[in-house]
Amino acid sequence: MVRNPFVMQCGEFHVDYKQDMAIWKIARVRWRIFAVVALFALFPMVATDYVVGLATLCGIAAIGAIGLNILTGFTGQISIGVGAFLGVGGYTSAILTTKLGFSFWIAFPLAGLITALVGALFGIPSLRLKGLYLAIATLAAQVIILFVISRWDSLTGGTAGLVLSRPQIGSFTFMSETSYYYLMFVVLLITIVFSLNLFRTRVGRAFIAVRDRDIAAEVMGIDLFKYKVLAFFVSSFFVGIAGALLGHYTMIVSPELYSISVSIEYLAMILVGGLGSVFGSLYGAVFITLMPVVLRSVVDLLSGTFPGLEGVLVGMKEVVFGVVIILFLVYEPDGLNKIWLNIKNYFRLWPFSYTK
């Protein structure tokens, strides 16, 4: 019998819990995944520095977006404060490495941890507040954290910010785009594997139960307060990690890099990608990060025909960004991930798609 290497899973037939919980539903998916990972690991070999740099930014955004999705998509707690939490991560790492002389490899996880603690602190109101009220509380967190960052001059360098250096191992510095890409890539892989597995555990299931109906979850014995604060903790950890990675990549942290528009961008990422989907966060992060770049090149292309288009680029970005959010909300609220699944489902039984 000839085995088709592209064979798709055509249905689910699980006879025990072990199969139901498996990450790879059929064995050959594993090889496909390895192939995709290898593709992304090898791609800097052929790509230019500019493209690798963009990929690094996409990857860092994806780490933050996965973090936010754990909180908003999986646990149902809306946060408009991600921008500030990114800032906390970036600044923690900056202060630890430049002012206190820690090595990056210690400062990096500590940045995640401290952001997680700050996140958990601002998550405490989530016990009493839901939906709109919680969103407003996290917005307040954003404003207050940014105020502290921009005013605590002695520690944070005020509005001028701090200058960071790239991480080192021994005498090797992650100076080139490619080396930093690999650093990001490893962190991103760990983040993805962790979060995929998180939702196979008791804690992850509890998060989802809290999202679906918090009162019912409480009745079933889930300690709401504990799991909500835990969700803020885990989510902010990854956001902080992303912030630290971003800080060491751009080599500067300053308050205006973490404004409320960053928070909105991250919300847009998980929304466009798909709420409650790990890979959705990834697609959304890539989409939102590349959108301005694509728009920029379209404007460059058209500026010959329509002079003056350059001048309105900033405004156009905002308009396109808003329109994309609204269109996704109206036509595909489950985001890019759902579109991808639809395509996959169409080809699952192809060419006999009508045999439902």
Binding site: I136, L139, A140, V312, G315, V319, F321, V323, I326, V330
Partner: protein, 294 residues
């Protein structure tokens, strides 16, 4: 003492503008359970339209204001019809993100049409300061206060006596019952958005006369959140009292505490109050407590 009174008066005037803008915000929340993150952009567009009419086309100020208000009403009305209608009854995050997306679109349009630099109104009100005992008030402040009070009176009468006002209160109270009494809830939603855009535009024109117009004026849209939460998200008297309170607190902080910390605290203090209120009394001073039944 004079300094204190001066700060108090400034606070009350700025606070009354907040109150007016928050009124629109609360109105939308009350009628359609939507939270409007585009309130600041409504304010910006209203004031820019008025400014353009006054400065570029030499329209008299009052006429320009009325035209700007008419334009805002149309904008609010059509935004509700086009953008918000599909989100009725959707999860909170969709609603929030829809208005965030809307605010991004509107802000982008403003940047494309009017650019980024600060513009000032040609002097509309007389420049001669009014003197009350030790307190000196610029006429623009006095007029702002008067105009806000006039609008608040108009709205009170509107809600109490007009057909649409009563229909709006009925809708806020119980949508099902309102529908069964023959009230078109859709029209009510559209009117709520139109009114929200009008009051924002009034607030924007007044603030524009005080401080000049640039795109950072839309930050007022965020400042209505503390105001609305302090007063209670679904209470109109709450929005008015909350607005004036926040205005006073902000002005006092600016006068007494900012010199100690080197400025900027004024902008943050409303949000600190917001967090405290949410922790202690989430439904604000006058808000209706939500009771969740399973």
């Amino acid at each position: 003492m004079a300094f204190f009174l001066q700060m108090l008066v400034t606070g009350i005037v700025v606070g009354s503008v907040y109150a007016l803008v928050a009124l629109g915000f609360v109105l939308i929340y009350k009628s359609s359970d939507a939270i409007n993150f585009a309130q600041g952009e409504f304010l910006l567009i209203g004031t820019y339209v008025c400014l353009t009419l006054v400065a570029s086309y030499n329209v008299p100020f009052i006429a320009a204001l009325l035209l700007a208000l008419a334009f805002s009403a149309l904008l609010g009305w059509s935004v509700e019809k086009v953008v918000l209608r599909p989100f009725i009854g959707k999860p909170v995050i969709s609603m929030i993100m829809a208005t965030i997306g809307l605010s991004s679109v509107l802000a982008g349009i403003v940047h494309i049409i009017w650019g980024h630099e600060t513009r000032v109104y040609p002097p509309v009100f007389s420049e001669k300061p009014l003197q009350f005992g030790e307190v000196i008030i610029a006429p623009v402040y006095a007029w702002s206060f008067v105009i806000v009070i006039i609008w608040l009176v108009i709205f009170t009468l509107f809600f109490k006596y007009s057909r649409f006002g009563i229909a709006m209160r009925a809708t806020a109270d119980d949508q099902q019952a309102a529908l069964s009494m023959g009230i078109s809830v859709k029209t009510i939603f559209a009117i709520a958005w139109a009114i929200a855009a009008i009051v924002s535009a009034v607030g924007g024109v007044l603030l524009g006369n005080i401080n000049g117009v640039n795109s950072s004026l839309s930050l007022i849209g965020l400042k209505v959140l503390p105001v609305a939460i302090l007063g209670g998200l679904d209470s109109i008297p709450g929005a008015i009292i909350g607005g004036i309170l926040i205005g006073i607190i902000e002005s006092m902080t600016g006068g007494y505490l900012d010199p100690l910390v080197g400025g900027g605290l004024k902008e943050v203090i409303p949000f600190v109050i917001l967090v405290i209120i949410l922790m202690v009394k989430p439904y604000g001073l006058f808000g209706k407590k939500e009771i969740e039944r399973v």
